[in-house]
Symmetry: C2
Subunit: 429 residues, 2 copies
Amino acid sequence: MKSYLEMSREELTAERQALEAEFAEIKTFSPDLNLTRGKPSPKQLDLSMDMYDMISSKSILRTQAGTDCRNYGSLDGIDEAKRLMAGFMDCDEDQVIVHGNASLSIMYDTIARAMLHGVLGSVPWCRLDKVKFLCPVPGYDRHFAITQYFGIEMVNIPMTKTGPDMDLVEQLVSQDASVKGIWCVPKYSNPQGITYSDETVRRFAALKPAAEDFRIYWDNAYAVHDLYEDDRDELLSIMKECEKAGSQDMVYEFCSTSKVTFSGAGISAMGMSKKNRDDMLKQMSVQTIGHDKIKQWTHTRYLKDMDGVRAHMAKHAAIIRPKFEVVDRIFSEEIAPRGIGTWIRPKGGYFICFEAMEGCAKAIVAKAKEAGVELTAAGAPFPYRIDPKDATIRIAPTFPDTEEMEQAAKVFACCVRLVSVEKLLMKTL
Amino acid sequence: MKSYLEMSREELTAERQALEAEFAEIKTFSPDLNLTRGKPSPKQLDLSMDMYDMISSKSILRTQAGTDCRNYGSLDGIDEAKRLMAGFMDCDEDQVIVHGNASLSIMYDTIARAMLHGVLGSVPWCRLDKVKFLCPVPGYDRHFAITQYFGIEMVNIPMTKTGPDMDLVEQLVSQDASVKGIWCVPKYSNPQGITYSDETVRRFAALKPAAEDFRIYWDNAYAVHDLYEDDRDELLSIMKECEKAGSQDMVYEFCSTSKVTFSGAGISAMGMSKKNRDDMLKQMSVQTIGHDKIKQWTHTRYLKDMDGVRAHMAKHAAIIRPKFEVVDRIFSEEIAPRGIGTWIRPKGGYFICFEAMEGCAKAIVAKAKEAGVELTAAGAPFPYRIDPKDATIRIAPTFPDTEEMEQAAKVFACCVRLVSVEKLLMKTL
């Protein structure tokens, strides 16, 4: 198969003609598939339904320590849940606060608190002229939406295969006191599926920030979301590395069971040093009487411990692995040999990140929509929704079934080819 | 029985001696009762346990409209839950946003949003020199903790038997543009158990605030918490009155099922005009992907509609009514004839509010603690925890069983008598 980059104008023109015919045919059976968000499929959600057989009117909803989970109290969560979530975050259970159904809300709230009350007594950010966050790109659109909402200036940091460009991170963090945070999805990053290397984690722990209130926002959303049991990425514990470096106050860890049990009906948690935790509890005592302990009870009964979690996640992997593999196969067959796009084959997480030729992403997404396949908007994985190269497209393979995903991948490949040919023809004008 | 106010110095001295002996005896069987918070008793929590028989691995967790409650989405809640919560708030279901487990968190968040982003485009409060809230007193300590946390100046508004002193409210709201809100618990108010009269509600709806971003924070926490089915207070719908007056943007309604099903594991909601609702949803879209829809599903299946809620609340009333009545009886026997305190006999809610002689509240609470009965701190129902008269004590009768409550009320009465005698003796010096 010939790379498009080596084709002559005549060859490209012929290819375009063939692709236009193919695209016209695809449009006739417009599949109406939505790949915009990283949502679990109904079959994945079915996996956890037996959690509800563990609770009935006969249940004694008490913790081991005797707390009645049905009543008010336990601001930081029940001990059993703290223990479980510590496993997700690779930290001590006494560093954990268990929250409600969404880690996103905790992140939002953590930043809202810093805006109005500062961090461990620092000047509230709303009183500063400028607050900046470093944003490894491509990244998670909802992280960037939070910082944008609060008027925080976002600075793009390129991702490498081992994590964010740490030279740049070190330089900015140590020299600019207006840099107050960095967003990280350290394992199976959203959207590229990259796991930070040991060296990257250690360099994070060794950061010497100019701002005392600089924090690493370590969103370990895919901590246990491996696709292959025998070939999974291992992430160093940021908390332990920070403790070794004496920088344990510099990191906030986040996690949830949203993609373990139920999306929007799971539990979430934060891991922090004692100082940070005490600071947060002070605020939380004003904000709430406590989070849902019955859900904490059912979740800890159901998942038990990290072995239980791993076993449960293996069932998820069995469902979603074929979807990732079919995308990889079709891209390998249809796109790679033609030299018109690259991607990292992820070993976990929820996304495949496609890098098209520069200037093609928006056109590909529009084309796919025309053919009934809705993708995350081009630009979404970047601050302010601006992809400087217009090249990155996030693909979320988990929700459709494998056959649908195969069909969508084929439509996508056709769109990539068509848009790329058109781009190349414009260049050769 | 002779009023202490009519006793001579000799009589008072004799009374003190007798009471000191009585108190010494009470201390020997120190009951260790905690009446600090308005918590449902285990028996009340038992009432809702059969909710968990309505959900199992076989349940189809879909809404009538077909939404999968197990997955992400539905930022404003499922339709069934909106309908249910509209009944609590006496507003239209399309005015409702269903939230997580705690209405307190929504209030916190509503104020945090106003601080950083203003209200419908107004200047964010954090940029203003002064922001004030009106606080009917005595009131709910957690309301005051929120406004204090955000540095909002609190202004005491005396409560009358028909609600807050509306002359004062009207004057301050219409003349002072720094007054941005008022905290209200309009039915069975915390702690006095007062329900706002129709006239009070109408005067609220007719307010002409100097500040465009003034809002009434209408926390209808005890909307359905009647003690007597055939003698319950009726509260006018603030939303409907505001709509009639054209002031529908001026009110935020809050409610929850915390004291209907499970404290901390129920659902909460807010009722608002379309403008306010759109404004809030804009923020919420940054903050979360949605609240727990499975819990919304189980709650709406379980409670069904307002008839279902009323029937369920009658069971609560049957459990807690005797506790309220025993307090009323002992106070009527031991305290009222002696002229040393007053209270309103509430027809619902969670508290009895005792008004001691001026300067006695702290001493009574301390004395009760000495005898093993822990009460809400004196001062707590006031902004900054300062009761100008040191007279108000909130009693929370729901958690202990009736026998314990009787015992606690007796201890309390003894403490009131002892402290009052001492006070009177000091005065006659």
